[in-house]
Structure formats: C-alpha cells, structure tokens
C-alpha cells in the first residue's frame, strides 16, 4: 500500500509521521505539498502535526481551504483512510470531516508530555490491533486540544462508538475526556496525541506502532480481497 503525508506551510511533524510509517509498516510514503489536487493514488493519507499557515485566525482554519484538503475530502468520501494528528485533527474539524472543534486548553498552558489513553473502540481500521479498554502511553504536544462539541453530538459519538481514544486523566479539559474521534464512515480518525512519537523504545513508549500497523493490515486485507475478486 501507499501512504501520503500532506505538508502545509508550517507543518512540523510531517517527516516524523512518514518515518513512523516506514519504520512500522515498511510501506512507501510520499510527502505531498499542500497544493496537490489529486491524492487518488494513495491508500492512506496523514495530515500531520504542526502549525499550518501559522494557525492564523484559528488552528486549521486556513489549511481547510487548501487544494490538498479538498482532495482529502474526496478520498475520505471514497472510503480511503485519513488520519489527522494534532494540527491535522484541527484541520479535519475545521473542514467538517469530523464534528466539534479544538479550543485553548482549559489551563492555557502548552502541554508536552506522555499521557495515558484508554482505547474506547478497537474495531476501527485504526485501532483493531489494540484491546478494548487497553491503556496506552502516547505523548501530547498542544496548546489547543480541548475538544468541544454540543452535548447531542458527544452523546451521538459515544453511542456510535466513534470515540476512539479517551484520556485517562484529561490534560486539557476536553469534553468527555475525548482524545480522538472517528468520522461517520469510520475511515477518518482525528487525535491530538502523537502516535508517531511512540514507535521505538528510546521514545519512552512503542504504543503508537499498532495504530499504523492497524491501518496497514486493514488496507492490505482490502487489497487482497479486491485481488481475489478480480
């Protein structure tokens, strides 16, 4: 399978994301500039962390209008896997590919630390290699990660199993301790923590590996099925 990592002006976790995918799956990864209009050759697309367009106006607000995000919207509609990490999550909510919004942390501090997450859904293409209720260690690095949505939306996310990860101890005041949510079709995931920073021992945790491996396994199975039916 083939991965794309979209690079916006101001992205700074693009290389780390690409390296994490290579390291954990051995797949081919292309860094794709934000003016790309066609991403149909890729099986999975990552919107990386950073400060796209300087986070001017609101985090992710300007990136939403870039050609690459239009292409991401098309591929997400076609069922391709889309993973938004940190600033990528903010871009996905601003683009309405995911509900809610990410606001200033309730304590106003930028937090850069290892946090404990609880896996709330292990049937999605992103989380199938985890156990339900498993506690994993993944670092965060954000000042605007407080997930907000109206109570009806949060209840709907909960009922439909669209909360993928929760914080064991919320570092930012997110409603329902939400750290990561799935899109309606289950093929889009946005999360504030950085799985690409937890893939080898010296990083302090290897719990991020299985997220990329889940995606790899899901896509490869789909490709194998398609070949068998061809």
């Amino acid at each position: 399978m083939k991965w794309a990592v979209v690079v916006f002006p101001g992205s700074n976790c693009d290389e780390d994301a690409a390296q994490a995918v290579r390291e954990t799956t051995g797949d081919v990864v292309d860094l794709v500039w934000h003016d790309a209009t066609d991403l149909s050759e890729y099986d999975a697309i990552i919107l990386p962390g950073g400060f796209s367009y300087g986070d001017y106006l609101r985090s992710g607000a300007i990136a939403r209008f870039s050609p690459a995000v239009e292409a991401v919207r098309r591929e997400a509609g076609a069922g391709k896997l889309v993973l938004g990490i940190c600033n990528g999550f903010q871009v996905l909510t601003e683009s309405h590919l995911l509900p809610g919004a990410l606001l200033r942390n309730n304590h106003l501090q930028f937090r850069c630390e290892m946090v404990e997450l609880v896996v709330d859904n292990n049937t999605s293409p992103f989380t199938r290699a985890y156990q339900l209720g498993e506690r994993i260690q993944i670092p965060i690095a954000h000042g605007e990660g407080r997930f907000h949505a109206d109570p009806e939306t949060v209840e709907d996310l909960r009922k439909r199993g669209r909360i993928a990860f929760r914080y064991a101890h919320s570092p930012n005041g997110s409603v329902a301790d939400i750290a990561g949510i799935l899109g309606e079709g289950g093929n889009v995931l946005g999360l504030m923590p950085h799985p690409e920073r937890a893939i080898v021992d010296w990083m302090g945790s290897v719990d991020g590996r299985r997220l990329f491996q889940s995606m790899h396994q899901y896509v490869e199975e789909g490709l194998a099925d398609a070949r068998a039916n061809a």
Binding site: L57, P99, N106, G173
Partner: protein, 86 residues
C-alpha cells in the same frame, strides 16, 4: 459600486468555557475590581467590502463570518457596516 467599512467581532459562544476570559477576570479581582464579571476575550477584524447595495454587502459579510471568520461550532459573531464616504 459602493465601498463599505466593516468591523467584525468574534467571540466564544456563552456555552463554551473561555479560559482567557476567566484568567483576566481573576486578575481584575486581584486588582480590586470586584464588580468585573463574565469577562470574554474575542477577536476584532476590520475590512472593507464593495457591493452594489448595502444589502448585498451585508449578505457577503455574513457569508464570510459563517464560513471563514468564525467557526459556528464554538464561536458567535457580530458586525457593523457603514458606507465609506470618499
């Protein structure tokens, strides 16, 4: 074609916690301004727009506010618009 001067204000909805407003409110209380309450921090934007009529200009500004200048999920906006006299 007329030109209009537009002032847009954007701030968090009343239902959304505003940590900046809260911190400023605490600071005001520390300084002895005990009566200061419900502090909300927002953004101010200034622009000019052109249009054939004021109604057309207003419609355009409202679309800008809904689609770009504010995020209706968490924010609300207000604006003032007046024709610039050359």
């Amino acid at each position: 074609m007329k030109t209009f001067d537009v002032e847009v204000r954007v701030w968090l909805k009343p239902s959304v916690f505003d940590p900046q407003g809260h911190a400023v409110e605490q600071a005001l209380h520390t300084l002895g301004f005990d009566g200061a309450q419900n502090v909300r921090i927002g953004k101010y934007m200034h622009l000019t727009v052109t249009g054939e009529t004021e109604a057309e200009a207003r419609k355009s500004v409202e679309q800008m506010c809904e689609r770009v200048l504010s995020n209706p999920v968490m924010e609300t906006y207000a604006y003032e618009l007046k024709e610039t006299v050359v």
